[in-house]
Subunit: 463 residues, 2 copies
């Protein structure tokens, strides 16, 4: 036996090969691919990548890593935006992409159980003939496991909630390889600590999620979409506030600023006025969506909204939302060879106009980079997408500084540094500013469940 | 100094008197009053009862108890149903009833922050002129702090969720007296472990909740109520399943069995047919509630529903829901000098009819006590109310045995032993049957946050 073979990681890799055969890889390209996400954080490759097929295999792998003190990093589709999967301490990345089975669907209970590698689009494709759908829709076609781990949301959250509200129960492999189920399948329960919610948003730092039971919803009888431009940001935000206050169960209410609208026009071939604009969607009965959109049209009119174009035509609707989901590509198309850096604050909606206006002032004064803005404004959540030249350190610095001021502005307004992207590496430095002494409780939880710190080490909690 | 004065509790009481003056009591009547809830569990009085006025006072009291290893038991209105506040190891009960201020309300953000002693009715009274309301409504006029600690819900949960979905943020005094805030006021966040949900439902075992920020809702433009009797339980439950599946945003959908209906008729002076009956409520616009109730009427008709009587008249509506909320009193009125024992299972709705039918068969075969049934059936949650003679040990035994079989039946259907009442003393013995290995993670959390086990010791986690 060579000296090198005595290193814990080599021993682990040898045993992984016995366990998984060719479903473990140490090829540089595979390792590099798994060492970076879609964020600006640099690639840090793990020592090996495994492709397990079952909870039992995950448990065996984790137990092995645990016994040798080797880090474990769960990986979904690699679409996270804050550096969630970089292997800071090397170790083994668990690519859960081959655990991609929908295990059960209940049309009576409006729920399903999936493996973590199922993506949101795969799930909805699978559900198509059941009359049900899964509403949570981050920009990427992320895996349900990854969405659970980052507490993701998207455009439908204003009506259907986030992964926090969508997950009924989880199967989790603990850092020592034991397997637990966090809850039964009942809609509600008061039986003990809410372990489900503890693991939702835990970013792979407490265990590996291997099954997810999700709430589903009936596809509404009618769906209508609408677009309305505003002369002022306040007008648009006030329309949002009044819409929600009046109890209109709006399914989507998205704000795009003039810069983003212009980018979308160019990319998707629309000719909307390049103004602050709301994209809306209404779900309900035929009469219901007509009534909802009428109420919102009237509200928008009161706050300076322009031509309110609405449609129940599925093709037009899909084109509209495809354009919205393509916002990131539209941004990328603004510059050659650029990278995106997305911010992600969320504030109480009463402070949203103020927060956006101050941020846009900051951009005007201090930013030479294009930075279109989109917002899930019903929730008070918005993103800037800095369209950066990755080889220009000054552009990186601008984005960093503006993001830092944006986060501090949001925190001062009782908001959060991340509405839906998670902490990862990028937001760890803001965690104490946001939560203060509560971070010490988070550390206690991490130490209690993962005392050897093998689960996704270095993420979320500031070192 | 006498020997007795050297006992930690005496020292604590002496220092509490310095801190709080006459807001600490050791009178037997006060201690006894605080040593029991509304359940069948016997009174176990604390050594002293305090009435703090602020987070700072709570922190000082907890620090004092922590330094002397004395137990701390948070107390709201004493309306819990599973023995949550019995002072198993003596110690100090914190009666939070004098912390009864609504601290802020935002009509723009649809939220408010309250002290824990505010009751749900007080809050709604306070909100009356704002156009907002707080929907969570357990039977009792419980305190918001207590409702948070037991993850309570009620008749509106099918539409508005439970305390799990309603709490945005908490201020908590930790077992060592440190004060944390669990989250900012943003509607959603992916910033770290979900401490808010960890403390919601923690039953006073992890700290003392001293401020609660809650989601509120706009009072709907129109509210309609409806009553519809069924010949069969399956017909009623199938109507519920189809209603929810079809996306009708029903606000309340309550099932009462023939025994409960008869009790309510007698108590509240109604003359409904003594059959399995659904009580419903619809929230929306005038046209919306009319449309919703039409859809449900048609569904009920398909499943053997009888005369569907509906009203938007506020007085009739209030009379109906008062009768529903008085169900417990109606039960009590069935027998002289009786006590109620309420069960609380919740199952996936696809198993609800089966679970109720098997339970009613068990009652028929093995129960001589009246046991009316009411259910928050949109959630799969239902209660039997055993109307017991407290002096008859055989009746107690019957209730215990039927409850035990009921819980095991619900667990076998992937349900929970408690949908909304919490674990307390009464359900602790079922926790391992429900959660298995996950209970060991709950123990780790408890040990991490309360290593000296001073917070409400002996509750929730089985010893």
């Amino acid at each position: 036996m060579s000296l090198a073979a005595n290193k814990p990681i080599d021993e682990v890799i040898a045993q992984l090969r016995e366990l998984l055969g060719d479903r473990v890889s140490t090829a540089q390209a595979v390792r590099d691919h798994h060492g970076s996400d879609e964020s600006w954080h640099e690639t840090i490759a793990p020592d090996a990548v495994c492709f397990p097929h079952s909870t039992e295999e995950v448990a065996a792998i984790v137990r092995l890593c645990h016994d040798h003190g080797v880090a474990v990093i769960p990986y979904g589709t690699g679409t996270s935006l804050e550096g969630h999967i970089q292997a800071l301490e090397g170790g083994v990345t668990l690519d859960l992409g081959q655990m991609d089975q929908v295990l059960r669907v209940s049309t009576e209970d409006l729920d399903c159980t999936v493996q973590p590698g199922v993506t949101r689009k795969q799930l909805n494709e699978y559900l198509r003939d059941t009359g049900l759908f899964f509403p949570i829709d981050p920009g990427a076609d992320a895996s349900i496991g990854g969405m659970t781990a980052t507490r993701a949301s998207g455009t439908n959250a204003v009506r259907y909630g986030t992964m926090r509200e969508s997950v009924l129960s989880l199967t989790v492999v603990l850092p020592d390889g034991r397997v637990i189920r966090t809850a039964r399948r009942a809609r509600k329960s008061s039986a003990g600590y809410d372990l489900t919610r503890l693991f939702v948003g835990s970013e792979g730092t407490l265990g590996v999620i291997t099954e997810i039971t999700l709430r589903l919803y009936g596809i509404p009888e009618a769906i209508a979409a609408a677009v309305v431009p505003f002369d002022s940001l306040e007008g648009a935000v006030n329309t949002v506030i009044l819409t929600i206050q009046s109890g209109v169960p709006v399914a989507r209410i998205e704000l795009l600023d003039d810069v983003q609208l212009d980018a979308i026009n160019r990319y998707s071939g629309f000719d909307y006025p390049a103004k602050t604009t709301l994209f809306l969607e209404f779900h309900g009965t035929e009469a219901g969506v007509a009534e909802q959109s009428e109420i919102v049209r009237d509200l928008a009119g009161e706050f300076g909204g322009g031509d309110f174009s609405w449609t129940t035509n599925a093709e037009e609707r899909n084109k509209l939302w495809q354009a919205r989901h393509d916002a990131a590509y539209a941004c990328k198309a603004l510059r050659n060879n650029c990278e995106l850096w997305a911010t992600d604050v969320c504030v109480p909606i009463s402070r949203l106009a103020e927060c956006i206006l101050e941020t846009k002032r900051d951009l005007e004064e201090n930013c030479t980079i294009p930075a279109p803005l989109v917002g899930h404004v019903g929730d008070g959540n918005f993103h800037l997408a800095f369209v950066l030249d990755p080889n220009d350190p000054d552009e990186r610095r601008q984005a960093e500084e503006i993001n830092e001021r944006l986060v501090m502005r949001a925190l001062a307004m009782d908001g959060t540094c991340t509405g839906e992207h998670g902490v990862g590496l990028g937001k760890a430095k803001f965690l104490v500013a946001e939560h203060g002494e509560a971070v010490s409780v988070m550390r206690l939880l991490k130490q209690a469940i993962d005392p050897d710190n093998i689960m996704n080490p270095g993420k979320m909690l500031p070192s």
